[in-house]
Every structure is written in structure tokens, then in C-alpha cells.
Symmetry: C3
């Protein structure tokens, strides 16, 4: 699920479901949420780095659990891992670096707006597929994307569900640097290590000050997005999206009953 390793004062958390392109099921959400909490509480950890094992960073929500299903047993009874991970990341108290090694879809894309420094491999591609699934933005991206990328860029990627290139991610402000695929993890650990040489109390206060300036707007977005999701899930467009996915055909949203 999630592999953990320490590099000096840097905690590396690796999404590790490569067979599923690191799609997030409830177990992985909880593993990531728990990994964040453990790193926050560990006095020897200054910086957290996220990356993915295999050709994806994170392929988004596991479609098999869409609509509230929970196919896992490990996290059974622990409730909504998505919320725990997302809200934990939004209000995290230590610097977070992301090393985006490949596909970053859905939460794999939207989580990046809550990371302090994002390095993207040149082959990485990012997508917010929400309208193609008949749903709407999540993880506070309806507010974080306009703030981080600019209003026009956010509108383009949220309305069209187009792929964003690594270069475009840097150009719009979502990411800090594009690096060669082979250099991604070394460069991310070097950047994190540079930050980790600073005093941890300064890093924690700095991060908390930055979070304090935006957390209320992001949590308000989370609440509104949850409401919107409740209205859209299971509605005709979402049902058509799922049917088209299962039938391996393009979805057709233009002949749905008008609303």
C-alpha cells in the first residue's frame, strides 16, 4: 500500500499499488493519512516527500469503490479515508514535497495543490477527470486550483478534463520544476534535504503560518464540494459515465434528460 523510508530528516512516503497504478482505495487513503500523522508526530522528521512506485504517481480514486463502496478489509470501520487524507494534507504542519513520477489523476492531481513544492518528471501527465465522470471537483480543488494555477488555467483543466503536461504544470504555478525522469527522486530528496537542514521549529511555524492563511477557504470548499458530490453521484450523468466505462465506449452526455 504505502512504503515508508527515512533519508536523514526526510520521510519518504511511496504510494505502492503499482498494479493498480496507485489508485486510491480506502486502505491506501488511510495508509497515507496515517503516514502523514506519524511523520508530523515524529520529532526527527522535518519534511515529508510523496512519490509513487511504478509508472503512475496516483491514478485517482479506485473506480471499484466509487459511490461509497469499500472493497478493503484493512480499513473497514475506519470510515472515509479520502477525507482523513485530504484534510490532513490541507492542514499539515510540516513541509511536503511531491515527486510526481508519472500519471497523476484525480486526487493524484488535486493533492498537489496542497503540497509545498512539487517536482514533476518530464513524462508525467496530470488530469482532473471530474466532468467526464459526471461529478465535480474534490479535495478543495475548486478553490485551490484557481489560487495556485490562476483562474483561467484552473477553469480550462476543470471544465475540459484535458491532460496537463509537466511543462504546463510548472508554467501555471502548480509545480516548481520539471526534472528528467531518472533525476526525479534524487532531486526531490535533495530539495527536501535542503529544507530539512533548517530548524524544525522554524519549518513548523512557517508551514503553519502559510496554512493558516488559506485553511478556512479550503475547508469551506471541501464542505461545498461534498454537497455537490452528493447531488451528482448516482445521477444520470454519473450513471452514463460508469456504464460507458464498463461497456468500453465513449460516454454521451448530450442526450441525457435536460436538467
Amino acid at each position: 500500500m504505502l512504503t515508508t523510508s527515512d533519508h536523514g530528516r526526510v520521510r519518504l512516503l511511496t504510494f505502492d499499488r503499482p498494479g493498480a497504478l496507485n489508485a486510491m482505495n480506502n486502505d491506501l487513503y488511510w495508509a497515507a493519512a496515517d503516514g502523514l500523522t506519524a511523520a508530523a508526530d515524529d520529532p526527527g522528521v522535518a519534511v515529508v516527500v510523496f512519490t509513487g512506485n511504478g509508472r503512475a504517481f496516483c491514478a485517482g480514486n479506485d473506480m471499484s469503490e466509487m459511490g461509497g463502496g469499500n472493497s478493503s478489509t484493512v480499513s473497514a470501520g475506519r470510515g472515509n479515508g479520502f477525507g482523513a487524507f485530504t484534510d490532513g494534507l490541507i492542514s499539515y504542519r510540516k513541509p511536503v514535497v511531491a515527486a510526481v513520477n508519472g500519471l497523476a489523476v484525480g486526487i493524484g492531481f488535486t493533492m498537489l495543490a496542497h503540497c509545498d513544492l512539487v517536482l514533476v518528471a518530464e513524462s508525467a501527465r496530470l488530469k482532473a477527470p471530474f466532468p467526464t465522470l459526471g461529478v465535480a471537483p474534490e479535495a478543495a480543488s475548486s478553490v485551490s486550483f484557481p489560487v495556485v494555477m490562476g483562474q483561467q488555467t484552473a477553469a480550462y483543466y476543470l471544465f475540459t478534463a484535458e491532460w496537463m503536461s509537466a511543462e504546463a504544470a510548472v508554467a501555471c504555478g502548480l509545480a516548481w520544476k520539471v526534472v528528467a525522469d531518472d533525476a526525479l527522486l534524487p532531486d526531490a530528496l535533495a530539495l527536501a534535504g535542503k529544507i530539512a537542514a533548517m530548524p524544525i521549529p522554524s519549518l513548523v511555524e512557517t508551514k503553519q503560518l502559510m496554512v493558516a492563511g488559506r485553511v478556512d477557504a479550503l475547508m469551506a470548499a471541501r464542505a461545498r464540494e461534498n454537497d455537490a458530490f452528493g447531488r451528482l453521484i448516482g445521477a444520470p450523468a454519473n450513471r452514463e459515465a460508469i456504464a460507458a466505462f464498463l461497456e468500453k465506449r465513449p460516454a454521451d452526455f448530450t442526450s441525457l434528460p435536460e436538467v
Copy 2:
């Protein structure tokens, strides 16, 4: 005043007072506000596109109605069309694309910060002339311009009233792409059509989520700007601006009584 046509699920609204460079009088404000409302209420419309007929997108407020005059008869008794149009656009529930075909002055410029995706023809030029008229920013641009363009760019154009080029509009984040003049409308309709292929409920929820993150700040700006306008209209600088305009001479604001 305003020409309406449908292209699949895209509603095209064309400012159509070419003899007046599409300057906004109260009739045109109301026509645009009504056009927005009709498109919002039409279940077959997914996306609205604004453009202008002739060599201007919109030349700003019709100077002949400055100071509250209303030369029109059509909108007589309907009150302030500027507010209806601006507030309607700020809180609009469907995606809005702008195809800026030429001069965009005053409201023709400031409205763009409330459009989701702005395409600018390479010959387009934009201007916020407020200080040269002895007034101050309107249509929430005192807040939207810093957010959308960046603080320095907004300050430059709001304080100097300089022309902004199409390239500068894209570079600062106000616009999405510069396109060749001949390609503007086809490209805008193609972009809008790509969005319009998505399910309308997803588009509406997405747009409303994005609006919810900024609408309070924008409406607060609108109220403050109205107060400022009330203090400035008819004051010495505004009177000098109007006199200079009528006398076809440059205004001189440096010899006004000090305040």
C-alpha cells in the same frame, strides 16, 4: 443591441452596437444581463460565449450616460443595468468564454476577470481608463485584477490606464490564449463546444463551486467601489476629465485644487 445565436449547446451573445464600438448604455447592459439569465435558465445551454461585432469588443460605458444619465427608452424604469450585468456575471452558474475581437475598454476589460476562459485576437487592446476619467475601478476589478493578473500587473494597469496588449493579457493570466484575428470566433466556439460536451450538471456544480470561493470578496469590492464612485463622480477631477473630453484637449489633473 445584443445578437443571440446557438451553436449546439453553446449560446453566443454578441455585443452589437458597432457604430458606438459596442459602448454599454443602459439598454445594452440590460440586454446582456437578460441574455445571461435566459442562458442560465435554458436547460439546453451548457456554455455562454461573449463577443463583439465590428472592430471593438466593448468600448466601455457610453460616455453620454456617465453620471447616471439614461438616454435609452427600452430600459427606462429598469434601473441600473450595469449592476445587473456585472453581478449576474460575477455569480454566473455556467461556464463563460469571452472572444475579445478588438478594443476592450472599461467594463469591456473588467468583465473579462469574471469570464472563465478568455481568448483574445492578436489585434485586441485593453484599457482600464478610470483615473483618466477622475473615477476609480469598477466591476470588482479592484479585487479581481490583483487576483487574476497578479498584484503588480493590476497596479500598473489600474494606476496608469495604459493599453494592455493581447500577449500581455495572456502573460499575466487574464486571458487563456492569443489567436489570429480570423480564428477568434471559430476557436472560441470550438473551446466552448469542447466544454459543452460535458454533462451540464457537472459544469454547473463546478462553476458554482469556483464562484463560491470568490463571490463574497467580489461583492464586497463592488460595494466599496460604488461608494468610491459616489465620492468621485462630479468632483473636480471627473469634471476636468469630461471638460477635456468635450473640448478635445488633454486633461490636466496636476493643477486641480489639492485635496
Copy 3:
């Protein structure tokens, strides 16, 4: 301390402690705060320009006064000049241009996010050294830097305390233009003069409208930053930073007691 001169309707304020690289002691903070107040109250002043005499714009807080010491006599009994200057600049009612002629460190860097238009000499370099001193961001930079520079850029410079080049300052949105060192002051005065040709009431209303959109968030950041500073000053990392400075050795923050 601070040299004042008028150029038409432009008030030039020059930090003038070149022997100390224009480091801010309490006297200079108060001189700058008083200079701002006098220019705000002078009906003949439209725009304020800040620059520095010598090879620095401003080298930050005078280290000899760190921790609350006040080595000056002029400002004795006047209290915290830092707060008076910073809060005065954040809520200033007239346009402010900065001409960054050289080193801009600490407050010399963070104050720029509250200036409307920043010109940087090509040889200028900027730094936010807070974590290397065991402290955290000040002058509302924990909120202003993400807004003005973008979230990733702000995180990089606030967490690493790296030097920012003049080009990078423009690329990220903190500054408006890079100019040749020799052209800096003439260009800044020309830009300020262009603004100063506009009616002062329009400039004041415009600036106040822009400030109104951000002042609450900035003042909330100021309060949080003051609290953080109180927790960090005199704590182990800050003591190690000061000891290393006095002993002319690199600080080592990784062997401090964990917190």
C-alpha cells in the same frame, strides 16, 4: 537615516545608512513610518518611491537589535518601529513604488510584497533568511508571498532562505521589471511620475480599494507571525543561529534537542 526629496508630485524616500547596508534599526523603522505618514498627509504628493543609498536596498533587521534591543536614542520611548512601518505600508493610501538597488534581505524583501510596483536593478538579490535565524516569516509574508509570488515560489524561498535573483523576482510576480542598475532610479521616478499625473483622489481611492481587498488577511497574518516569533525568539535554534553568527561558523540545526 532616511533622506527625503520631491520630484514633482513624487516623494522619494531613501534608506540612508549605507555603512550598515541600510539595515533597519528602530530609528530607521520610525523614520520610514514617519516618512510614509507625512507623504500620505501631504496633498501635493501622489506617489511614494522607496530606494536605498549604496550597495544595498535594505539588509533587514539590524542584528544588534534582535530580540527587542533598541540601541538608538532617537526613537527611544516610541516603541516598536517595525510594526509602525509594516502596518503603515500594508494599509497605505497612496501608490508606492520600490526601486530595489541592491541587497534586499528580511524586511527589505518582505516589504516589497506591499509595494504596488517594484523595479529591481539587475544586480539586486533578495533573501528571506528567517529559518537560518531560527525564526519564521514576518511582515505578513507568510500570506503575502504565496499570494504575490505563487504558493510554490513562496514555499521555496521561505523554507530554504535561498537568494532570489532580479529575474526570478519578476518571473514570479513580486516585481514588475528588471532594469539596468544605472537606469533604476530614473526609471522608477519616470514610472512614479506617470502615475502621479493622474488625479490624486482617483489614485487614493484606487489604492484604498485594492488594500481593502487584502488588508484583513494581512493583518491576521501579522498577528499570527508575532505569536510565532514570540515562541521562537530565544529558543534553541535562534540561540544557535546567533552563536554561529558571532563565532563566524555555520549553524548546525540538526543536532539541537528535538521538539
